[in-house]
Symmetry: C2
Subunit: 353 residues, 2 copies
């Protein structure tokens, strides 16, 4: 019977097959519930699962609709299972909060991977803000890790801030592009390229020349935008010029890379995984993997605190009363923004909610 946090935890960590699957589903349902007593149970469960988490590799994958994410993830997932891995696929679909979901709307998606007993696929939570959806997905990731999935893929479409959310919960962030990425119409969304650890040009078989051109363009843009402001830059340069095998070379940092592949034909998927493995080894050796996870956990905490503070502020009766008129006056240029902020903050503190 899965009616307590402890029972669910035992089933997730200690069972396998269908029993484990049921426990995972139950856990994720609990995490996504908005009932206060469920939330208390969910917090208990998460705390109990935490010692069993953190041993998987967390891979974020993003790309516009049509870039071939599903095909790629299915091919990659089957390849990894063949090598003895267990693969979980989670999705953050910001549009699902409006339309009820588009990424997994197509039932035939990842047909072969979804029925594989070594794979677990969970669609995006379908309601709430992006922050809320990201929180549920982060928690679902912990559940999958505790259940022994050692590769967790978090997928998203290039909408709003969802890439930043995915990059903020994964060890490595991969951006998928089409071969014509260099054209005006396929230009890359602001701020996304700079968080990519690896850029994959999919469907390279369709137009080899365009793919090679895109690879060169993106490589050069990454170099131009990549380094400055990075405190480790000097260190990176030193490491890059170190003799292979020397201690300095061991300290090398990952440089974002661009590669071509065809998910449909399956070509380049092994080279992709070799790159991911190299990334993982390098970031483990230089300590960046641990630092990244620590930072992610802390910024996740602060992000949820911020969201909670804003929610309480916006729902405070005195603030709700003043807000519409204040916004109108600031927008019209009749009230200085900083004065407005001080007035609203004073209204919240001077009256009990």
């Amino acid at each position: 019977m899965l009616n307590s946090a402890a029972a669910i935890e035992t089933a997730i960590v200690g069972s396998s097959g269908m029993a484990q699957r049921r426990a995972i589903a139950k856990a994720i349902t609990l995490l996504e519930s908005t009932r206060a007593d469920h939330r208390t149970q969910a917090d208990e469960l998460l705390t109990a699962l935490l010692p069993h988490t953190g041993r998987s590799f967390r891979l974020g994958i993003s790309g516009v609709p049509g870039v071939g994410k599903s095909t790629f993830i299915e091919t990659l997932g089957l390849f990894l299972i063949e090598q003895g891995h267990r693969v979980a696929v989670l999705t953050i679909d910001p549009s699902s909060t409006v339309s009820g979901g588009s990424i997994l709307g197509d039932k035939t998606r990842m047909e072969r991977l979804s029925v594989h007993e070594q794979a677990y696929i969970r669609p995006s939570p379908s309601s709430g803000t992006l922050g809320g959806v990201a929180e549920k997905t982060r928690e679902a990731m912990l559940v999958c890790e505790a259940a022994g999935y050692d590769v967790v893929i978090v997928e998203t479409v290039g909408v709003g801030q969802s890439e930043t959310a995915v990059a903020g919960m994964t060890d490595m962030f991969v951006l998928m592009q089409l071969p014509n990425a260099g054209d005006d119409l396929q230009a890359i969304k602001k701020g996304v390229m700079e968080i990519a650890d690896l850029v994959v040009i999919n469907k390279a078989d369709l137009d080899r020349d365009a793919a090679t051109r895109a690879q060169a363009q993106i490589t050069s843009a990454l170099r131009l935008f990549g380094h400055h402001g990075n405190p480790a830059h000097a260190e990176m340069l030193k490491a890059a010029h170190a003799a292979p095998g020397s201690p300095e070379a061991e300290m090398r940092f990952w440089q974002p890379q661009v590669m071509q592949l065809s998910a449909l034909l399956g070509t380049g998927v092994d080279a992709f995984w070799t790159s991911v493995t190299r990334f993982r080894q390098l970031q483990t050796a230089n300590g960046r993997l641990g630092t990244r996870r620590e930072k992610q956990a802390l910024s996740w905490m602060w992000e949820r605190i911020d969201a909670g503070l804003k929610h309480a502020f916006r729902h405070h009766p005195a603030v709700r009363e003043l807000l519409p008129d204040t916004i109108a006056q600031v927008a019209a240029g009749r009230l200085p923004a900083s004065t407005a902020a001080r007035q609203l903050l004073a209204a919240q503190t001077s009256r009990a909610p």
Copy 2:
């Protein structure tokens, strides 16, 4: 006597020369004061000045130390005064909060502009967080506008988030680069290029070839990173293909540009101002200037609210008590981040500060 907000306001709006200068200095001192009664007076003053603001053009300029910002701003300022403008220069120097200021540390800086009666130069506020410094600068900008300065230049170095702060308070954001910007060591800080409306390659006279190469590289990178995710993209393409003089062409949107100049020789400064003027006309005609200012005012309000909420949270006794241990546990992976956030938020609300 400048001892009330009303007296200062009258002197700023209604006087000139030294009397006005004294009133401006008094107003800015009042804005920067941390005393509660001064803050009340400052809010009164800002509200009174607001109807006299908004008629200037707000120009943000950023670049690393050594790029030649001072020389450029002095040359530009003298050029503008010759054309009948009055020019105010404000500075956001994030390092000043640590070192007491570097941008204006050199007393010989902008020697000719600083003594000109049609110019007003004010260094960065020298204490507080970047958010606080930015707020003071925004408020000082309103004071200068009310005093009739019709070009306000806000300058910053490329440190931390200061460019974003400057771009968030100006009508146009200009990034200054050296001719060797394409080299690895001169690569562009993440996230800054994408907020630039205009990139200026200074010291182009030193190496004409390098400057031309950098211009081509940056232009191509801007094209690659510029459009996608912009809802106005389709509209922009339509406008770009419209016949000159047609209503569609009138609706054209600004495309970020890259230009060369030499601030020292003064070459290219007139072309720079022609670009700025074209930007201003275009953005006024298509309504973007007004929208940008409205958005800036509202996000400024929300930013100050966020800062206020965070400050109150971090200084709440119950939170202060729990925070160090909670952070340690989250960082060590013993407490889920979302659970930690819920616990801290509950601690704040359950006990009166």
